[in-house]
């Protein structure tokens, strides 16, 4: 029988979130990088606002170097990948060596991208490994609870990121559906009120994305006297 401690369930959730964050931010970055190559120099300012990260960067070059690869910049993609690794490395027994290996390989690929002249090529390898991570997780992890916890992190993070980036309504709604389906499979405690509220605001003509971010971030803050699902 699979048993999972609070700490490890928390780590699974965050492993899912950070893998997703790395994946989606690389994809988003790639689009910006492409346009920054010869077109708009200042595009990163906008990106920082969207991502809700402090714009500490002095130039386009500085942004590319530090936002992607600086481990000491807590908002960098690399920092997020290291957070994913820090969670993964203590979950070997839950996710298995094979799945864990892809996070390890993503870290190696990131280190290579850092020293490369064409970072996009190696960032693609990071993305490849994250995709492989999800594939292996799906295939190799027996425990549904473990899989669901990982994916719940992914779903939550995706909505959070998409809302921040003000993605199209249809995209957000699709992600919201996937989350609603997933959340009850984990047995994790969450606020049914907040979930209902999220579903409600997703149907509004103009989705208030700030509110989505707020609600999704507090979905698991369950107060004792509130209606809770799970056990």
């Amino acid at each position: 029988m699979a048993i999972l401690s609070i700490e490890h369930s928390d780590r699974l959730f965050w492993l899912g979130r950070y893998c997703e964050r790395v994946y989606t931010t690389i994809k988003e970055f790639a689009i910006r990088f492409d346009s920054m190559i010869e077109l708009k120099d200042e595009d990163y300012n906008e990106y920082c606002i969207e991502q809700d990260i402090p714009n500490i960067y002095t130039s386009k070059e500085d942004f590319i170097k530090r936002y992607c690869f600086d481990e000491t910049d807590t908002n960098s993609i690399f920092s997020n990948l290291i957070r994913a690794y820090d969670n993964a490395v203590v979950l070997r027994e839950e996710i298995g060596s094979e799945t864990l290996a892809y996070v390890q390989l993503a870290v190696y690929a990131m280190n290579k991208a850092k020293t490369s002249e064409a970072p996009l090529v190696y960032l693609q390898k990071v993305v490849d490994n994250i995709v492989a991570f999800w594939g292996m997780a799906d295939d190799d992890i027996d425990s549904e609870c473990v899989r669901s916890m990982l994916k719940l992190g992914k779903r939550v993070e995706r909505i959070d990121l998409y809302a921040r980036m003000k993605m199209e309504k249809a995209e957000l709604q699709r992600e919201m559906k996937r989350l609603s389906k997933r959340i009850n499979r984990t047995g994790i405690r969450y606020s049914t009120m907040k979930l209902a509220h999220l579903n409600y605001i997703m149907e509004m003509d103009e989705i208030p994305t700030d509110l989505v971010v707020e609600e999704i971030e507090s979905l698991f803050d369950v107060r004792v006297n509130e209606d809770v699902v799970g056990l």
Partner: protein, 439 residues
């Protein structure tokens, strides 16, 4: 196929070792770093008959050590009969008064022993050290073998090598045999421990749950794992990879924040098994090492099959005389140190150092042992593309369930420095797989 040809696969193998994060952690200037454990492709090979002989000797040795620990924390017959002087027991750092009168499940103390051996140039094997606390290292040849098999299947088809995939099974059997009812967990101090890779790998391979101290609690005189949904699951066996002093702040070091309060109290009542038993350190002290052959005779009434390296105890006057006379030919070891520290060669000291050392020796004769320097049989390693001879030892793993079991493999550690005898990974050593041949 010639062994050297194995080096062709070095890159593939190293890539796979990196892929699976086969690392150990070290602290350098207070910063935690993970390092890949340097692996050398040429295995150490041990013939079938030779290993059978080692196996017999290792089983005998571990049986005697287990009896010794049981006796020390119980009847103390070996002290009464003056086979082991009591000061070596009570003044050793491994003796824990808290263990007096406590009998572990099935009377097993030494569930997992790592016995270090060396082979001399004349082929003779010597026991160098018994590690009975929390010996580590089995995971490295386990995964290395797995990776080598993948990289060069032909090698394993064409050589008849004893399968070493069974370590996880042996370990599981060992843990299940003493389980007091409930789940089995591996207790790790956390990922910033030098052997964290091993903890997590063994958990995966044995199907035990890897936990840290804050995930299990004592309640109603039982140990429980608390599920994320709040459900409590009883734990019956803890393979703990944290040392005795940090295990339980209520019974050992009160400063410990990684332990589980009261776990020792319920162990005392037989409600949980601790693997290995606390207090084992009393038997792997370097001073006690001298007495192991005597223990074998005393408890088992048998002649020791495997020899100690010739050892002298300056504690005995006759031995002190010998040590002073042959000082330059001997290696001196501080009994309180481990991990390759506190080891000095008589002939490497300056005149002043020697005088100072002899002063210490005379003031605290119990603190040191002296050994003849064994002429190690060098084994080949590949260093920057060149095959060169280096010093190496063998850590054999003996597990104890209803009977002692010797893993037909082992961790061969070598020194990368041509002039050094020190093979410890914490001091830059590397490792090899150990093949036990089927014929």
């Amino acid at each position: 196929m010639k062994e050297e040809e194995l080096y062709r696969y070095s890159d593939t193998v190293n890539e796979l070792l990196a892929r699976y994060g086969v690392k150990f952690g070290i602290y350098k200037n207070g910063i935690f770093k993970e390092q890949l454990f340097p692996f050398d492709m040429i295995p150490r090979k041990i013939g079938k008959d030779e290993f059978n002989y080692l196996e017999k000797g290792l089983k005998q040795r571990v049986m005697a050590l287990n009896e010794f620990i049981k006796d020390i924390y119980g009847d103390k017959k070996i002290i009464r009969d003056k086979v082991v002087p009591e000061e070596f027991v009570y003044m050793g750092s491994g003796y824990l008064a808290q263990c007096e009168g406590v009998t572990p499940p099935n009377g097993i103390y030494t569930h997992i022993s790592g016995i270090d051996l060396v082979q001399a140039k004349d082929g003779e094997w010597y026991i160098l050290e018994d590690n009975l606390r929390i010996p580590s290292g089995a995971s490295y040849p386990m995964i290395a073998r797995d990776i080598c098999r993948r990289s060069s299947p032909a090698t394993f088809k064409n050589n008849s090598i004893c399968d070493n995939r069974n370590y996880a099974k042996l370990l599981r059997k060992t843990m299940d045999y003493v389980n007091a009812g409930g789940h089995t967990v591996i207790l790790s101090p956390g990922r910033y421990n030098a052997a964290y890779f091993e903890h997590s790998y063994l958990a995966e391979q044995t199907g035990a749950h890897l936990v840290t101290g804050n995930e299990i609690v004592v309640e109603n005189d039982n140990l429980y794992f608390i599920d994320y949904s709040g459900r409590k699951e009883r734990v019956g066996a803890v393979y703990r990879r944290i040392s005795d002093e940090y295990l339980d702040p209520m019974n050992f070091n009160p400063e410990s924040v990684i332990g589980i309060p009261h776990i020792y109290d319920i162990y005392r009542k037989g409600n949980v098994a601790l693997i290995n038993a606390p207090g084992n350190g009393v038997a792997d002290d370097k001073g006690i090492y001298y007495f192991v052959p005597k223990m074998i005779k005393y408890y088992l009434d048998e002649e020791p099959i495997l020899n100690n390296a010739p050892t002298y105890l300056p504690f005995y006057e006759k031995d002190m005389e010998y040590v002073l006379e042959h000082f330059d030919d001997l290696v001196l070891k501080d009994v309180a140190e481990a991990g390759g520290y506190g080891v000095v060669f008589g002939n490497s000291m300056t005149k002043d150092e020697k005088e100072k050392f002899i002063g210490m020796l005379k003031a605290e004769p119990r603190r040191f042992i002296a050994q003849e320097v064994i002429d190690f049989l060098d084994i080949d390693i590949c260093d920057e593309g060149k095959v060169v001879p280096r010093k190496a030892d063998l850590r054999a793993f003996v597990l104890m369930a209803d009977e002692p079991m010797v893993w037909r493999s082992g961790l061969t550690r070598f020194s990368r420095n041509p002039d050094s005898f020190i093979v410890n990974s914490s001091q830059g050593g590397g490792f090899k797989d150990t093949w036990v041949l089927e014929e």
